[in-house]
């Protein structure tokens, strides 16, 4: 090409294939939205009426019934937090083995990695509420079902992210330990653990924060905690009590988030 030709050449950020792929995605997004709007069953009158109805609901909720807090909310709220904590702890205990099995550098057996990944994906795909429904059917209504639901769903999240943290661990210390003739428990405790501990604690804190939110809804399907109080108040149309429960939930969730942020800064 002549220098003149190079100067006049048009530069583009993406290759034609990349541009085609991008426009394909845009087209698919627009098509999905249009198809959804056309087929989803929404009654237009309800849409137009919605702001007025929501306003009416908020008026009925005001003012929140503060007197309901000591008698109906406090104990249930603590129960929810306990469910989240014990559920997270149980979840960790079950997630760790799967995390080690799923990490390709820790377990150099392809079929075991694959099996562990399958377990983790299934646990992550089944919502906490579905687990709660299953465990309520097995253990009866109450906090036990809720705790197990939280624990089983957490396996997927904790196990997958823990395995990812293990896979990026530096092989140097591990080789050094192996060369010194260390047995595999020592390799894990002194080789892998110090490298993944910060990531592990960050994951645990993050999951606990999520689990506090999740434990709050479990009561709706009878699995214990504050959700049961909310469900009762809703079914009896006691809107000021509903409002108080919501205020309490908001407070707990915000406090949990602040606490997690603070602890994370302290230990990592």
């Amino acid at each position: 090409m002549t220098p003149d030709g190079i100067a006049r050449r048009e530069w583009q950020r993406f290759t034609p294939m990349e541009r085609l792929a991008r426009y394909g995605v845009y087209l698919a997004i627009v098509a999905a939205i249009v198809v959804s709007i056309r087929t989803v069953q929404v009654i237009p009158e309800f849409v137009l009426d919605a702001p007025e109805q929501i306003g009416d609901l908020l008026r009925r909720m005001w003012p929140p019934d503060a007197a309901f807090y000591p008698e109906g909310i406090h104990a249930a709220l603590l129960d929810s937090i306990h469910i989240a904590s014990v559920g997270t702890a149980l979840g960790i205990a079950m997630a760790l083995p799967f995390g080690f099995l799923a990490a390709r550098n820790v377990t150099p057996a392809g079929w075991l990695n694959w099996l562990a990944r399958l377990v983790l994906i299934s646990a992550r795909s089944i919502n906490t509420l579905v687990f709660a429904l299953l465990f309520v059917a097995i253990f009866g209504p109450g906090a036990v079902a809720g705790t197990l639901a939280i624990a089983f769903h957490s396996i997927g999240f904790l196990g997958r992210l823990f395995a990812e943290a293990l896979e990026v661990a530096s092989p140097g210390p591990i080789e050094a330990l192996r060369a010194a003739g260390a047995p595999w428990p020592s390799v894990i405790v002194y080789g892998y653990w110090p490298q993944v501990a910060p990531a592990f604690w960050a994951l645990v804190l993050f999951r606990w924060d999520i689990n506090v939110r999740e434990s709050i809804v479990l009561g709706l399907v009878g699995a214990g905690g504050i959700g049961m109080a909310l469900d009762t108040a809703l079914n009896l149309f006691q809107w000021t009590r509903v409002a108080m429960v919501l205020v309490a939930i908001l407070a707990v969730v915000v406090i949990a988030e602040v606490a997690v942020t603070y602890i994370r800064k302290k230990i990592i």
């Binding site: 009654i43 994906i121 089944i126 919502n127």
Partner: protein, 265 residues
């Protein structure tokens, strides 16, 4: 300088860390206390295992005989997730621009941040209950509930992305005398676009998961079918529904990963 005594000189590889040990003890004590509150006794657990075995036997084999009902529910869940994600992105864009501390003064960012915190604090299912009471049963309540959740999460992620941009390009565009909208569209958005696509596809994924659940409280989607089957003790249909939900979620994950690859997000 006085010589250091030999005993002090030798460093211990893993020294005892008393604050950490204290923290561990407190954590274990709290967990034991919480456990005692939840009445999780071994006897109850063993009784449950027996029930669990019977229950699992009732779940199998999955019964796909009513696949038309199942498909209708899944389709509605998918539509709800798509619409809620689209609405969520549309609302989160302006709110996150208002909440970004590097672009806006403090009195604007605080209300925007408060709005996002409130949206994020409530589980979509709880928001769905309120919308069911406000606008009636059906997909609309679900879409609105998922939109609120999306606004909370996308708003937070978008705001963090905007706050990490390089201000040099923004200043360069301001220096040319460009109006506010041009600063946003030429100075800010090109820097965050790929990350926004990544977050939005993550949110679509999350909405898909939650859209299969809000039906439990009557807000449309396959969750209603699932809850009804549970209440009728129709466990082989329950199993079929759960398996299809898992398939839908995994398909959604594969799809959003493909989109992320196209945009290198």
């Amino acid at each position: 300088m006085s010589p250091i005594p030999a005993a002090q000189h030798r460093a211990i590889a893993f020294p005892a860390n008393w604050p950490v040990r204290l923290g561990w003890t407190a954590l274990v004590l709290y967990l034991l206390y919480a456990l005692s509150h939840l009445e999780l006794t071994p006897a109850r657990f063993l009784a449950g295992l027996e029930f669990g075995r019977n229950f699992l036997l009732k779940l199998l084999p999955p019964d796909f005989a009513r696949w038309e009902l199942l498909l209708k529910g899944l389709e509605e869940s998918l539509e709800m997730a798509v619409l809620a994600s689209a609405l969520g992105v549309a609302l989160a864009l302006p709110v996150s621009l208002l909440a970004a501390r590097n672009l806006m003064p403090g009195w604007v960012t605080w209300p925007a941040r408060m709005l996002m915190v409130v949206c994020r604090s409530f589980h979509p299912v709880i928001v769905a209950i309120l919308f069911v009471k406000a606008v009636g049963f059906g997909a609309l309540a679900g879409i609105l509930a998922l939109t609120v959740a999306s606004l909370g999460f996308l708003g937070k992620l978008f705001t963090e992305a905007i706050e990490e941009i390089s201000l040099k390009q923004v200043e360069a565009i301001r220096a040319t005398g460009a109006p506010f909208m041009s600063v946003i569209s030429y100075g800010v958005l090109p820097q965050v676009f790929a990350r926004f696509i990544g977050f939005a596809s993550y949110e679509l994924d999350a909405n898909l998961r939650n859209s299969t659940m809000v039906g439990i409280v009557g807000a449309g989607g396959v969750g209603g079918t699932l809850f009804a089957a549970f209440q009728r003790f129709d466990y082989d249909f329950v199993c079929a529904i759960i398996l299809s939900i898992i398939a839908l979620i995994i398909a959604g994950e594969v799809l959003t990963n493909a989109v992320k690859k196209v945009f290198r997000a």
